[in-house]
Amino acid sequence: MKKDEIIRVLKIMIRNKLSLLGIIIILILVVTAIFAPFLAPYPKQAEGQPNLEEKLQPPSSKHWFGTDYMGRDVLSRVIYGARISLLVAITVVGLGLLIGVPLGLLAGYKGGAVDAVIMRTTDIFLSFPPLLLALLISVTLGRGLVNAIIALAVSWWPWYTRLIRGMAVSIKEKPYVEVAKTMGVSNLKIIARHILPNAISPVIVQGTMDMGSAILEASALSFLGLGVQPPTADWGLMVSQGKDYLLNYWWYPTFPGLAIFITVIAFNLVGDTLREILDPRLRRRYL
């Protein structure tokens, strides 16, 4: 995409109320993550320092979201959790794209045996239920945030490979690719100049939506005790720890859960609008 096209897409996204809402939420999230130590009322507690005198306090002016079973301020921990969530979203999707896109381009453009090997490999990965595969890898590698990210990325890339391979297969038959070949353009250049730019839009859309899903799945891993380890503040982990207190101390799992919910929705809103803009069939109405 060219600069002016990106600007045009951004303009449309801001004009659309829902995607504007999504963008605002994501921006707030980013700002929150960056300035967490300044925004959190109790940064020490967010990093794990217990405060047992005030444990399981309901929301009040002192603790807006209440406190958890160690007396730590839930608001501060939700704010710190944004850091982990964004990190997970960006690295999982980024790694997935980094592995998936080149493989998909190669498979689609080359065809034949290369295609068969790459696509059967993705089939193997996709034959597992997504979370199960991530769980498996995560268990094998051991607990911890980095391993959880690796596990998610490994179970994630085949989706992008499939998506971009399908695009590449149809684009390589386009006359302008044929023309480029008759002009003596090299395969690498054809992939870089013709196939990738024309195939990337659905991947951008999918990637945006997946940021939400990545957060959700990372939370699920944390919930199951495989992702982020205590005392680090993570939304999934907080929900996991708070679930036992749900009946009497509703605020404890609810606020981190809401944070996950709102973040995933924000990414989906942005992704949906992006899809409408970048999908050639839906595009016309915006031009």
Binding site: P175, V179, T182, M183, G184, V185, K189, P197, N198
Partner: protein
């Protein structure tokens, strides 16, 4: 006249799911310097595939044999690396569909300078200057505006002119035009054909014009080759072909052109194009031919010289005298 390109006994088969498809069955043709050679025939008779064999851009399930001699070298024996130096530089191509021959995502400027920089080792500014010259050469008004446009902002005729400009950027000695006007309005067709002829005088290249439109052939070509089901059935100077068509297939083609003066019913060729998976033995045209003889069923007629300007592959004309 000097020979520029000579195709000798070109056979091309495609391995397909249903078996081998015998797409080209011994095609012979010679293109001389500075001439316009027309290649006519029905859809699927192998015209485009012949041109793609010249550039060696065939799918991986193709099997080729024969010779394609260009400037003294057999193109079929060249490596991929050597072919890249020929594609675009020595032989370039203009396609049927100008609407989709340009990448919709990039401005004309980017696409032209990309191609120009590919073979000439020059800076971006120089490439743009060259692009502007080329656009002027193909009679496009206001080249600056064109360079700043996206493909969808140009009309079909303009895009085809851009494609021709691109094809000419390295002064090729052969321009293959694969139905360059099929997708255009009749008035634009005429302009584009005139442009190709005009540029040919200016830049001295030969043209291999692939078309199924006999009107286009009559108007632009010096010599014509008629193809049927993967065979070259007749090659002749253009006037000769229209005045004295020898092969029954060519005769059939010409009698299928409507003539508004007489309003007589058209005489379509009977039968259908044979399947290339199981082509008829002997002359591939014999099941549809009004002059079929017993020999046609068994023996493929060779392309023989009837006169200096007329070659025909048909048993009616003494190809079987020595049998």
């Amino acid at each position: 006249m000097k020979e520029l390109l000579s195709i000798q006994d070109l056979h091309l088969n495609f391995r397909t799911f249903w078996g081998m498809a015998y797409v080209l069955d011994g095609v012979n043709l010679t293109i001389y310097e500075d001439e316009v050679f027309g290649l006519v025939g029905e859809t699927g008779c192998g015209k485009s595939v012949t041109s793609m064999s010249i550039l060696k851009l065939l799918p991986s399930n193709a099997e080729v044999s024969g010779k394609i001699i260009f400037e003294g070298k057999n193109l079929l024996e060249l490596s991929e690396k050597e072919m890249k130096k020929i594609r675009g530089r020595k032989i370039s191509m203009v396609f049927q569909d100008p609407m989709s021959s340009l990448n919709p995502l990039f401005k004309i400027k980017a696409q032209m300078s990309d191609v120009i920089k590919l073979h000439h080792n020059i800076s971006k500014e120089e490439a743009l200057k060259k692009a502007k010259e080329l656009l002027k050469a193909v009679n496009l008004p206001d080249p600056d505006r064109i360079l700043e446009s996206y493909p969808h902002q140009l009309s079909g005729g303009m895009r085809q002119r851009v494609m021709i400009a691109l094809a000419l950027s390295f002064n090729p000695s052969l321009l293959i035009a694969d139905e360059p006007t099929t997708a255009l309005d009749v008035t634009i067709q005429k302009q584009i054909l005139d442009l190709i002829l005009e540029l040919k005088e200016q830049y001295h290249f030969s043209v291999l014009l692939i078309t199924h439109d006999l009107g286009v052939v009559a108007e632009t070509c010096d010599r014509v080759g008629v193809m049927y089901a993967g065979n070259m059935v007749e090659i002749a100077d253009v006037e000769e072909l229209f005045e004295n068509p020898m092969h029954p297939y060519t005769q059939g083609l010409l009698s299928a052109i409507p003539d508004p003066r007489y309003k007589k019913p058209l005489k379509p060729l009977r039968g259908n194009v044979p399947s290339l998976l199981d082509p008829p033995k002997g002359c591939r045209f014999h099941p549809r031919c009004d002059f079929m003889m017993p020999v046609c069923k068994n023996k493929k007629p060779p392309l023989v010289e009837y006169s200096k300007t007329h070659y025909v592959a048909c048993h009616l004309y003494g190809g079987n005298k020595n049998e």
